[in-house]
């Protein structure tokens, strides 16, 4: 890596980066992590009308082979601790998409005593999709935004991953 760091960003590394990013974005396996209402919409998004499989996205039961965690629904404090563990079990590079108002900021349940107001208090989030629950179209757009974000990443030349400015669907 040290050698590569001295090389200015060249055509070759860019192309290789693009290839790597392309493979990653074309095969986003998401973890089945339906928490609440949004889980139903997530299922419908994987269903016949908004078929996520078109983009090469397949649901996976275990965090170990997942690239993407779609946090779909209200995150309670009891669940928040488990969510952190699950996130840590996912192998790098990993992404988090927060689906719905509840996991964005607590949404309707900010008034509740047992709800964690936003999944970003526990794990870093790449894309926020608003809605209560978001429509399948909204989730699809969020995922496409995530793909766009992934295409901008650089792996061969070390620079900070664009984590900070999360996209907003």
């Amino acid at each position: 890596m040290s050698l590569l760091n001295t090389v200015p960003e060249m055509v070759l590394t860019t192309k290789v980066d693009q290839l790597l990013n392309w493979t990653r974005k074309s095969s986003l396996w998401y973890m089945l992590f339906g928490l609440a209402c949004c889980a139903i919409e997530m299922m419908q998004t994987g269903g016949p009308r908004a078929d996520l499989d078109r983009f090469g996205m397949a649901p996976r039961a275990t965090p170990r082979v997942s690239d993407l965690m779609i946090v779909a629904g209200t995150l309670t404090l009891k669940m928040a601790l488990r969510t952190k563990v699950l996130y840590e079990q996912m192998p790098d590079p990993k992404y988090v998409l927060s689906m719905g108002s509840c996991s964005n900021c607590g949404g309707l349940f900010q008034l509740a005593y047992s709800v964690c107001d936003g999944v970003d208090k526990v794990i870093p989030v790449d894309v926020y999709v608003p809605g209560c629950p978001p429509r399948p179209e909204a989730l699809t757009e969020g995922l496409m935004l995530l793909q766009k974000k992934m295409m901008q990443e650089r792996w061969l030349v070390r620079e900070p991953r664009p984590r900070a400015g999360a996209a907003r669907a």
């Binding site: 928490l35 016949p48 309670t76 309707l108 008034l111």
Partner: protein
């Protein structure tokens, strides 16, 4: 999994050790975030203790903070798979306390919306049942049919899942023009589809073998554990709130209450619970046809003050949701906030019996059992 054990008197036995398995809260077939702690000897379970509360969103406490009208959107989230019926339960409770009468057309709109929601919910239950047993196709087909209902309900109230359609005193909007024709067209398409689901899933040999005679709930146990709705009817009790403790305009409709007959095993097994839901979809379609036919004219919502303050009192309301008799206990103290709301849901009762039923089942059966009770996590946790 075996070890040599030595007793005090020196006898040596070849004993097996129990294994403790943790299933959930993130597990593909726990329908959301349920968790089971399974003590198993190999694949055979000694017990499966349920650990719930991973989706406890303190809805009952929120009711005390947001007021009578403001609580309506939260009732959607009590049971997001069939939000309409929960809406209705809250509306009925609030109306009873405030002495509000709903216009007849409003009641009909409610029935149409609720029955569409019931079909929607049972479709998901049947599909999820197939998926948990290992057949993936019925689920996507069920989702495909669900989308059609979602379209209809979206046209009705602008939301696909959390409708917030009903109001205290009636419904928010009248049926859009041409809605009844669309519903009829959907029903004409849907009723043959249920037969197709029968062919694809219900009469499949493997499916029957997996479900028949598994986790049989006798009539007595079902009543003692307060199982309700399809789970109770599958055990042979003909009791449906819509028929036997009628609310809204249900007495005006002619429909049957299907019960479990033990066609492939004994009464009250998983297959019975599944087929009761399938039959109920047909009955819901029947009610829908009658409701569309007899739809009266008039307003859909009564005049209800914005600052709703029912006089002090308490009420027990029972509403037949897809997961059975939802029992609401609402206390009013004469202010603009409810004093106490308690909801005893169908899934809650079903969850509490799982520990008893799980003894001697296999791990794969537990999955079928959860699916056959059609448990929805937020209904348990609220």
């Amino acid at each position: 999994m075996s070890l040599e054990l030595e007793f005090d008197d020196g006898r040596e036995v070849f004993a097996t050790e129990e294994m403790t398995l943790n299933m959930g809260p993130q597990h593909p077939s726990t329908h959301g975030v349920l968790r089971f702690i399974i003590r198993a000897d190999g694949e055979v379970m000694r017990s499966a203790k349920a650990d719930v509360g991973y989706l406890h969103r303190s809805i009952e406490k929120i009711a005390e903070k947001v007021g009578w009208h403001g609580f309506m959107p939260y009732t959607d989230r009590v049971d997001y798979v069939a939000a309409m019926t929960t809406n209705q339960a809250w509306a009925i409770a609030a109306e009873a306390l405030g002495g509000v009468t709903v216009p007849r057309r409003g009641e009909y709109c409610r029935v149409i919306a609720a029955e569409l929601g019931r079909i929607c919910s049972h479709l998901l239950a049947a599909g999820a049942m197939g998926m948990d047993i290992g057949a993936i196709t019925p689920f996507t087909h069920a989702v495909r049919e669900r989308e059609l209902i979602n379209d209809l309900l979206e046209e009705l109230c602008g939301a696909r899942l959390t409708f917030n359609y009903m109001r205290i005193g009636g419904v928010a909007w009248d049926l859009p023009p041409g809605f009844d024709a669309k519903v009829l067209r959907f029903l004409n398409h849907f009723e043959p589809y249920v037969d197709e689901l029968d062919d694809l899933l219900s009469n499949n040999k493997i499916y029957i073998e997996r479900l028949a005679n598994v986790a049989v709930v006798s009539r007595e146990r079902a009543i003692a554990y307060c199982l309700v709705g399809p789970n109770l009817r599958a055990s042979g009790v003909r009791y449906d709130i819509r028929k036997h403790l009628p609310y809204s305009v249900y007495p005006e409709f002619d429909f049957e209450v299907p019960i479990g007959t033990g066609r492939h095993g004994s009464v009250g097994d998983c297959w019975d619970r599944y087929i009761v839901r399938l039959d109920e979809m047909r009955q819901s379609a029947r009610i829908l046809r009658q409701a569309l036919e007899g739809l009266p004219e008039g307003p859909v919502i009564a005049k209800v003050p914005r600052n709703y303050k029912p006089a002090a009192g308490e009420v027990h309301v029972h509403v037949e949701t897809p997961r059975g008799d939802q029992s609401w206990y609402v206390v009013a103290d004469g202010t603009e906030y409810p004093y106490r709301v308690h909801i005893r849901t169908g899934s809650f009762a079903a969850m509490s019996i799982i520990e008893e039923l799980s003894r001697g089942l296999m791990v794969a059966d537990l999955v079928a059992l959860i699916a056959s009770f059609d448990i929805v996590a937020p209904e348990v946790d609220r």
